[in-house]
Each structure stands twice: as C-alpha cells, then as structure tokens.
C-alpha cells in the first residue's frame, strides 16, 4: 500500500453515473460540487473515503459521490459512522445530514459523537425545513414558522445548531453557505484537516419549501451587513464598507461603528483556538441578537483532544502488549476446571 502513488484526481473522479434527484435550483447541488472539488485535492485515495448519511434530501448525498457510500436510516448516520471509524480509523469518514436528521431524530447520536470526539466530518445542511416529507417546520425553524404542520405558526423554540455542538464538547465547529463556493471549499478543507469531530453547518436554500430562508445573508444588497467572515487573528469587522465591528464588554457583545474614536483595536479579535469555549458559544448564537451579523467560518477548532477511535484502539493494543495476544484454548479452560475420566 505504502508504495502506491496517489492518483491525480479531478472533480469528475468523484461524480457518479447516478441521476441526481434533487429539485432543480436546490442548494444541495452547490454543496455537492464543492465537496467533489475538495475531495480531489485532499490527498486521500478515493477508496478510503466513506460517505454516510441518514434520511432526508441531504442524505441522498452518498449516491452522487463516487466513494464508498452508505445511505442509512433517519438520524443514525453518526452512530453507523462511529462503528466504521472504530474498526477502520484509517478511513476518511464523512457524514451528510440535515437539520431534521441531525438535530431532531438524530440529536442523541450527534451530541454523543461530538462528546466522544470521533474523527468524523459532519456536513449539516440547514435549510430550516423538512424537505423530503414536503414542508414541515424543523428544529431550526424560527418561532411562528407557518408550514404544513403549523398552519397557525410554529410555537417551538429553535435550536442554534452550533451552540448545541459546542455544548456537546465539539472540538471543531464551523459555518458556511451553499452559494459561497470558495468560502465553503475553504471551510471543508479546514474540517478535513481537523483530527477529531468536525461539525460544519452549511446554510442551504430549499427553493421549494423554504425559499429565501437565508436570503438576507446571500443577496448582494444585504449580505455584507448580515454576514461576518471569521478569520483567525483578525478583528470582527463586517459591513459593506467594513466599518462595523463587534466589541465585547464584560460578557456582552455589542455592534459598534468604526470611527469617532472607535478603532479596530477596540474590537474582538477572532481566536478559533481559544481553549475556553465561551467566546465561540457567544459567536454561535450571535445572529439571534437584533442587528448582529451571522458569523461564518471556523468558530472553534482546537487540536489536542484525543480521538475516540485512537483511544479505543490504543487500549486494545496496550492490553495485547501487556497480556500478549489472546489464546483461545487458554480462555476456554480459564477458571476452575475438572477432568472427568473415562
């Protein structure tokens, strides 16, 4: 294996011959294209990629990736992927999921995968709606959402996906947008480079059941005032004229306008490696505050936390080093035995 050279891949090497069955105009196409391009550049052999998904529009993803793929059942992709990764830590295992799949029916597996820091890369397509079941509100839909199952508006309080991830001890948490191709690709590369669990929320447009859910972030007119691109080591600046920033006083975030004595030196400087998760947590829900932008990029990416699959496999190796490889005959004869003679 070690003598094999890595083939030079192109995007088309990761495309399949399967007819893509997402609706025309769906944000998933852009995500698929970005992933195919990024995979070609990761320096990983195609046979070592595994894409695992649950149920929902996003979960059809593996069928369109020319890698090993497993389309499983609703919400369980992180658990299935954990089994794969434990047995084969050498494989590059990715999970495609959505807001319903990951945060509703699969919430339990999501939080425990992150808690354990299994080396999986999770792409959570958040369109704030159930698409494949034709338009019910999701756990990320805003209060008051009028959908098929909530004709008078949803009364459920939504999850902030990245707050959930950080609360689950996630070591890598990022956000990108389906149509921001170059940002999305960079974010995917960073997720790929992270050693442990990487949880990437991709804001994705469902043009059939929730069209325009992210419009304020994606439209040319408004995007600069509503999106804040996080760059490690740089101050939190946004706005069409890059004249607005985020300041922190005590534990409170504040939007300030640069000028009138306020300079970039007064702003928060992005540190995605802060060992204290408090700052990243504040970022993860900043968009819910009136007048605040939505941060995109890596909110938090800390290295040094051991991966679950390594801990499990190392423990086995340690026991084998200490006790030697198991001897079945000896095991069967262990404990008190007695001989019955003929």
């Amino acid at each position: 294996m070690a003598t094999d050279t890595l083939p030079i891949y192109k995007k088309r090497d990761f495309q399949t011959d399967q007819e893509i069955r997402w609706c025309p105009g769906c944000g998933d196409y852009a995500i698929l294209s970005a992933v195919q391009m990024v995979f070609a550049e990761l320096g990983v052999k195609r046979e070592n990629f595994v894409f695992i998904s649950g149920i929902g529009c996003s979960s059809r993803f593996p069928y369109y990736m020319n890698t090993f793929g497993f389309h499983t059942i609703h919400g369980r992709a992180p658990a299935i992927a954990t089994g794969v990764k434990l047995v084969r830590p050498d494989l590059d295992v990715w999970v495609a999921t959505g807001d319903g799949d990951s945060l509703s029916i699969g919430g339990n597996h999501t939080i425990h995968m992150l808690r354990r820091n299994v080396g999986l890369k999770v792409l959570m397509f958040n369109n704030k709606i159930y698409g494949l079941t034709k338009g019910q509100y999701s756990p990320t839909s805003e209060v008051g959402k009028k959908a098929k199952s909530t004709p008078f508006g949803s009364v459920d309080r939504p999850f902030h996906p990245l707050s959930v991830a950080l609360g689950s001890e996630a070591t890598f948490v990022a956000r990108s947008v389906d149509v921001f191709q170059s940002h999305l690709k960079e974010t995917l590369k960073k997720a790929a480079a992270h050693s442990g669990s990487a949880y990437v929320e991709i804001l994705q447009n469902c043009n059939i059941f929730n069209d325009g859910a992210w419009e304020a972030l994606t439209e040319k007119e408004t995007r600069h005032d509503n999106v804040l691109e996080l760059v490690h080591g740089k101050p939190l600046v946004f706005g069409k004229n890059r004249d607005k920033g985020i300041r922190m006083t005590g534990l409170e975030l504040e939007v300030v306008t640069l000028g009138n004595g306020i300079t970039e030196a007064d702003l928060l400087v992005h540190n995605d490696s802060d060992p204290n998760p408090l700052y990243a947590f504040a970022l993860s829900r900043m968009d819910t505050l009136e007048g605040f932008p939505t941060p995109i990029g890596v909110l938090r990416g800390i290295e040094g936390t051991p991966r679950y699959e390594d801990l499990i496999n190392d423990q086995i190796k340690e026991v084998q080093a200490k006790r030697g490889k198991g001897d079945l005959g000896k095991l069967l004869r262990a404990g008190d035995t007695w001989e019955i003679r003929a």
Partner: protein, 619 residues
C-alpha cells in the same frame, strides 16, 4: 487402624442421589455469591448440576422486605440433571421475608436453617408478619435449625477489629460453611476464590474465611446436626469441564467465532438486564482484539455494529426485549443492505419494562416478524447455558456465509443459570470462512453467490470497489436505486429465499426418546431441561414420548414437518401465550397443543409431566 477415640456424637452419613439447596435472604445478604460458591464446589467435585438465581430488579429494596428477597437455588446430583429442581431439600433463610417467600418450595421434612437473630419484632414487621413463624407451629413439618447466624459470625470475627457492619456482611459465608459441612464438601475452592477476589484486601479474605470455617465447625460441634449427606460424582461424558452461565458462554462463543473467522469482533451494546453481563465479559477480552462500544442508546448500539460490519468486522449487539423493540428499524436496514450481524435478545418478562430479572420466551414472534414490511431474519435459540457457546458460533457462521443479520433468542434463565460445560478442544470448533471481495473486475455490489444468494462483502478501503448501499430498494446485481415494481417483488422474494436456503445447511432434527408414538414434545430455549426430565419419567411409565428441541427457529430444520406426523399428539410447552405453537400450526397444519406458563419462572418438571399425562388422557 482401630480407633480408640470415641465419637462424641453418633452421626450418620447418608449417600443420596441428588439434593437441591436454596439460599435466600435480603438482596444485600450476598445470596448470589453464596450460591455460586456452593455451585463451583459441587461442580469441581464432579456433580452434574443446574442453578436458578432469582433476584429482584431493585438493587437494594428496603432491607428485610418481601420485594428485597434474593435467592439462589442449586441442584447437584450423581446422575444427569435437567432442571434446578422443582422442590428444595435444604433451605437457608436469612430473615422472615425470605422464609415467607420460599417456604412453600421446601419439601416436607426438609432442612430449614434460619438466622434467628433476624426474627425480632422489627424484622417480622418489615416482612408483614404478625406472628413469629419460629414460635407458632408453621414450621413443624420441617427439620428446623434455629441458628444465631449474626451473633456467631460476630463472635468468630471479634478479634479482626472490623466494625459491626463489615462483620455482618460475612454471615452468608457462615451459612455457606454450614452447608459445606452438611454435604461433606471441601472449602478449598471457596478459599481460593476469596484469596483471588480480595487479593488487595487481605482483611476481607481473612474475615470471610473465618466466618465460613466457623459455620463449618459450628455444625461439627453442635449436637443438633445428626446427619450429613454424600452425593457422589456424576457419570458425565469424559473430558475437561468448567461451570458456565449462558451469558458467559455467549461471550466465549463470540470470541471463538472471531478467532475462527479471523475477523475482529465488535460489540455495540447499551446496558440492559439481563444482557449486560455479555458486555462485561467481552470488555475483558481486549487481548483477543475484541472491541466493545457502550453506546448512547440501543439504536446506536446496533447501528454502530452495522457500521462495524460494513467495515468488515463481525458486528454483534446484545439486548433484551425493550432494547430489541428499539433496534427494529436498524434490523430492517441490515436486511436491506445484506450485511452480517448477530443480535442477541436475552428475553425477560414483558411487555414494556415488565419483569426485568425474570425469564420469559415471548419475543419469538417479534424476532420473526417485528419489522416493517417483509424483512426475514434467521432466528436461533440455545437450549442450555453451555449451548449458548455453540449457538454464538452457529449464528456467526450463518451471518457471514449468507450476509444476513441473525437473531439469537436466549432468556434470563439461560443467561444467569449455570451448568457444567464440557470444554471443547480447538479442533472441535467449526471453521467460519470469510471472504472479502477484492476484485474490481465486473464488481457488482448485489451480484449473488448462486448457492447461498449472498452478496459480496466489499469493505471500504478496497481499491476499485467504491459503491453505494442503503435502505432504499435496490436493483438486484447493480445495487442502484430502483422503484421498479417487478424488481421490488424480485428483491423481496430473493431476501426470503436466501434465508429459506439456510435450511439446507442445518442438520435434520432427531427426536430424543421415542422416534414415533404417543406424544411429541416440541420446545425451544431454556425449557429443554424440564421437558427432558418429564419425558424420561413418562417413558419409564411405558408411554411412547419424543422430544424435539429446536435450535433453529427460522428456518426450521427441513424434516420437522415429517417428524411432527410421527406422533399422535404434539405438545408445545412455552413460557409465552403460544408463539411456537402458532407457527407450527400455521406452517404444518398440525393440531399442536400449547402449554403455557407466563409467571417469570421456568417450568417445573412436574408441571410438564402433569400436562403430558393430561394430553395422553391417563389422568
């Protein structure tokens, strides 16, 4: 040598064929340990035996109360043992609650040892007793030994400097010492066990040893005990033996399957009574490369195992009824993607939480049919604790050969009950060949083996085999998504046919007892012991009785239908409302008669004897 010493007491030493002892007390009294120690000693001596541990679901119900009673019964014998025994020869009761709950099973004139120190007014009140049974005539029909177990234990340990609570914890070993004396047993193996168990706490070794020896000496010195019993070794098949419980045997069986298939064993499990011990056992065998994953829930347990199987491991998951219900959807996925998997359901009383620590065999129809749509799964059932070892190997063999999930139905009684087990040599273990597909030439994920209909096991990381599988219906051969009506019917029938073909690969059944005649008893699972015992009794009376014990419940052995026709009557005893009997009637149009007990307790041999006589019309 002529003895010049006069025996201080004129003692009798009687040899009997078998005996049944039950230790019962509070769940904190250590009755399970006491019982297992006696069992090990009897096993090492060479007796055949069967045990029945019976304990409450609560870890420590309020001390001294009826719900807190825990018991351990052991039947040991110089002849073949089929059951833990219908009635008890010697009962050790540590308090009034234990006495009240267990006295009914003690034989007339049976030995009854009670701890009088726990028959004070407060103890009686906790057990809802208004009168002291030691003082009225309740116990007249038994050989009652009123022993100051607590006081005598404290006296024996007084020089160790332990507090009262710690001293009182040793009183079960005082009782154990008494029983060793009564049945002329050596204390050696328990001494060895104590030395090992408490190797870091020598004071506890010393305390328990002292208590046990004090109990032994107490009987020796007391004039009350006039008889001791000898139960000679049984004539078991020659070989090397150990004592084994069903759960331990399952764990060993899977380690063996992993070695025989040269495939890593992966267990995904979520703790549940009475299956957790399999997880505990397998977690110890890391030297065999065994990987255990304690999942966040039952669903993650099975799905992680499916992921492990997808990656090339021997994936297994262990659970009980409520967990089985949660795994349902994932089982369907394993059927659809045709991956090997073994699911162990250690059945307990239900529905819902039911009777977590009590036995039942009411998950048969769930195992066979409890999934959406047509999702056939092979189902196996071990017939004794030792058979759990072999059933684990058989289930693994079928799973990897046919690329199917397989369900093993054990139950609480097999799981915790123990019996002497003849240890196989490695040469006696079946080969379990595994082939991972590596050839990319014309590779198709659903191209089938013409004989078994198994699809290739093509694991990630294999160059050129990149492909997609999933729960959506697939076109046969290519594995592409297909909603074609005819393809769906073809796939449904193919998955069914694949499971049906396993029948070609399992042995025909040969009834025990008479090959034809009056009554055929068909059983499965843990009922084997009482059925065999009952059959022997009835045959000795001249009736023509056969017994078939099904280890393969789906598919059935090929000749089952023929065998059923050879008897005038077919009787099916089950610890459920009649599940196997329903299958037999439906499949073979045979007028099989069900006999059902749903009490969380195994059948007594006498109950089955009575039922056979009723069926024979000789009552």
């Amino acid at each position: 040598m002529a003895s010049t010493i006069t025996e201080p007491l004129a003692r009798r030493r009687e040899t009997v064929e078998s005996a049944v002892i039950r230790f019962c007390g509070d769940s904190g009294d250590g009755m399970q340990i006491t019982g297992s120690q006696f069992t090990n000693t009897a096993a090492l001596f060479g007796n055949d035996l069967a045990t029945f541990p019976d304990f409450p679901a609560e870890i420590r119900a309020p001390a001294g109360t009826l719900p807190g009673v825990s018991g351990f019964q052991v039947h040991f014998s110089s002849t073949d043992v089929f059951t833990p025994g219908d009635a008890v020869d010697a009962l050790v009761a540590m308090n009034p609650a234990a006495l009240k709950m267990n006295l009914a099973d003690l034989k007339p004139n049976g030995i009854l040892i009670v701890n009088v120190d726990h028959f004070l007014e407060t103890d009686l009140r906790k057990a809802n007793q208004t009168e002291n049974p030691l003082e009225n005539h309740t116990l007249d029909g038994y050989r009652l030994f009123k022993v100051e177990l607590t006081k005598l234990t404290r006296a024996a340990l007084k020089d160790l400097g332990l507090d009262t609570k710690s001293m009182d914890r040793c009183k079960n070993f005082f009782a154990l010492g008494m029983c060793y004396w009564l049945y002329n047993r050596s204390m050696e193996s328990t001494e060895r066990w104590l030395n090992d168990k408490f190797k870091n706490k020598p004071i506890l070794v010393q305390a328990n040893l002292l208590a046990m020896k004090a109990g032994y000496s107490y009987c020796d010195a007391s004039e009350s005990f006039q008889v001791t019993y000898d139960i000679p070794p049984a004539k078991l098949e020659p070989g090397l033996y150990r004592n084994i419980s069903g759960n331990a045997a399952l764990a060993l069986g899977f380690v063996a399957a992993s070695q025989q298939s040269k495939t890593r064993l992966f267990l995904g499990s979520y703790p549940i009574t009475p299956a957790s011990d399999i997880l505990h056992e397998l977690a110890q065998y890391k030297d065999f490369g065994v990987m255990t994953f304690q999942a966040e829930d039952e669903i993650a347990a099975i799905t992680a195992a499916i992921g492990a199987a997808y990656a090339g491991a021997l994936g297994i998951t262990t659970t009980s009824g409520p967990g089985m219900a949660l795994k349902t959807e994932a089982l369907g996925l394993a059927v659809a993607v045709e991956l090997p998997l073994v699911v162990c359901d250690i059945q307990r009383g239900g529905p819902s939480t039911g009777l977590p620590t009590k036995t039942e065999q009411a998950d048969l129809l769930q195992a066979l049919f409890g999934r959406n749509s047509e999702a056939p799964i092979p189902v196996l059932a071990p017939s004794s604790p030792g058979d759990c070892f072999w059933i684990a190997l058989e289930a693994s063999r079928i799973a990897v050969k046919y690329m199917v999930p397989v369900i093993i139905l054990s139950d609480g009684y097999l799981a915790n009950g123990a019996e002497p087990w003849k240890i196989p040599t490695l040469a006696e273990l079946p080969e379990i060949p595994v082939h991972y597909e590596t050839n990319p030439e014309n590779f198709r994920p659903y191209r089938r083996d013409p004989e078994t209909l198994a699809r290739p096991w093509a694991i990630p990381g294999t160059p050129g085999l990149e492909h997609r599988v999933g729960g959506i219906e697939k076109q046969d051969v290519t594995g592409n998504i297909s909603y074609d009506p005819l393809n769906h019917e073809h796939m449904v029938r193919t998955r069914a046919e694949k499971v049906a073909r396993i029948a070609q690969d399992i042995p025909d059944i040969v009834p025990e007892g008479d090959a034809q005649g009056d009554v055929l008893i068909v059983g499965w699972g843990s009922t084997s012991g009482p059925i065999t015992g009952a059959m022997n009794t009835l045959r000795a009376k001249g009736h023509k009785i056969g017994h078939v014990h099904l280890r393969h419940l789906n598919p059935f052995p090929r000749n089952l239908g023929d065998v059923l026709k050879r008897y005038k009557k077919v009787l099916v005893p089950e610890m459920n409302m009649g599940q196997l009997v329903m299958l037999l009637r439906a499949k073979f149009l045979v007028d099989a008669i069900g006999y059902n007990k749903i009490q969380g307790k195994p059948f007594k041999q006498s109950e089955i004897e009575f039922k056979i006589e009723e069926v024979l019309g000789v009552l």
